[in-house]
Symmetry: C2
Subunit: 195 residues, 2 copies
DNA sequence: GCCATTCTGTACCAATTGGTTCAGTATTTC
DNA sequence: GAAATACTGAACCAATTGGTACAGAATGGC
């Protein structure tokens, strides 16, 4: 009966996410988004609702993807190696261009904390899901005796996240590998997780 | 001859800074600023040039003030106590409302890195001035034997800043003292500067 | 070919953006 | 009171904002 080819919604969402990720919510205009997504204005409002809801969808996509990556690592690495894997995968094993974008959730928290509490909360919630995953991995490792048991796993996870946040700020100033590599190394040895 | 009372430019600048600090550059509109500064539109353009230059002036004011605070501490505290003094002064010894605003320079870096390189650079430059001050203090303390000499002072300063950045992200999610206090404590003991 | 459907492009909307201009009103010194 | 200055408030500007509506072309199954 009808025309089948819906434009690739997933691809469009991906493109929107990349733009929001790099430029933030407020500074990204609808025309910018449409061009990046490669669709017309009317198509946009047919498949998505508003710019704000598109942003939420992008934020969830980003959070889900990050969590999935970490979960995969948690399945095949000892807990003590998780922070290094996480830092390196997102800061060193990508192009400086991409590393300079930092983390979309962290960017969102800093941009919108006092402007749009709901979006801020959404980002914060996804970040704490990641922190919880770290905490759980540390707890299990301690129970199995794979990790030094003197440190509270929740507090350790919280520190890992704090340093993660710090690195996300650093990379937006200077995304070069030679400046990030020693920083990561020193941070890990600080955490006692350098080996 | 003339009417004397120029409205208080300093006060107006201060008010603008607070608004930019809380809401960022893009999300703060000119009417917002005028209301906060308590001046009329025409007075604004008589005493300032553009919104963008006002922002730069605010950024420099914020950076200068932060640096001055740190310099004062550096004059009367041992270097090893500087990070704690800095973290506590800006995160615990202020209202949660203010703590939740984080650091204007860090906020700027995350908001504008991919949008306005010049403003990003300005903020980054002020941040590195602070880092340099830490490094200098550590170096002097080591030379005087007041601080463990095994760690490179520049690297230590870089770690202090990374953790500082991390705390600035944390406080924009949850500015409550009971969540920040243990985080600061754990961070300092991580740095070996808890005592 | 026919009709349903899904896209594109454009025109349009009201509201808001940052910025300019200017008439009028205070306030000050003489 | 007169002249000089510094303010206010509103009108105005072009450009851009997010969002809507609609005509027409492209694409499918029948």
């Amino acid at each position: 009966m009808a025309r089948s080819p819906e434009f690739d919604r997933g691809k469009a969402l991906e493109a929107a996410m990349k733009l929001f990720w790099a430029r933030g919510y407020t500074a990204t205009s609808l025309p910018d988004l449409l061009q990046a997504m490669g669709i017309a204005r009317s198509s946009f409002y047919a498949s998505f609702s508003t710019k704000r809801e598109l942003f939420m969808e992008c934020l969830e996509l980003f959070g889900e993807r990050t969590l999935a990556m970490l979960e995969e690592d948690a399945g095949k690495l000892p807990a003590a190696a998780l922070p290094r894997a996480f830092y390196e995968a997102t800061l060193l094993d990508v192009s400086p261009r991409r590393a300079s974008q930092g983390c979309m959730m962290v960017n969102t928290v800093l941009e919108l904390a006092d402007v749009d509490p709901e979006l801020n909360q959404l980002a914060a919630q996804r970040l704490s899901a990641i922190e919880n995953l770290f905490a759980l991995a540390f707890e299990n490792a301690q129970r199995r005796g794979e990790l030094d048991g003197t440190q509270d796993p929740k507090e350790l996870a919280s520190l890992v996240m704090t340093i993660n946040f710090g690195l996300r700020v650093q990379c937006r100033q200077n995304p070069s590998r030679q400046s990030l590599k020693p920083l990561i190394e020193n941070s890990l040895s600080l955490l006692g997780l350098a080996a």
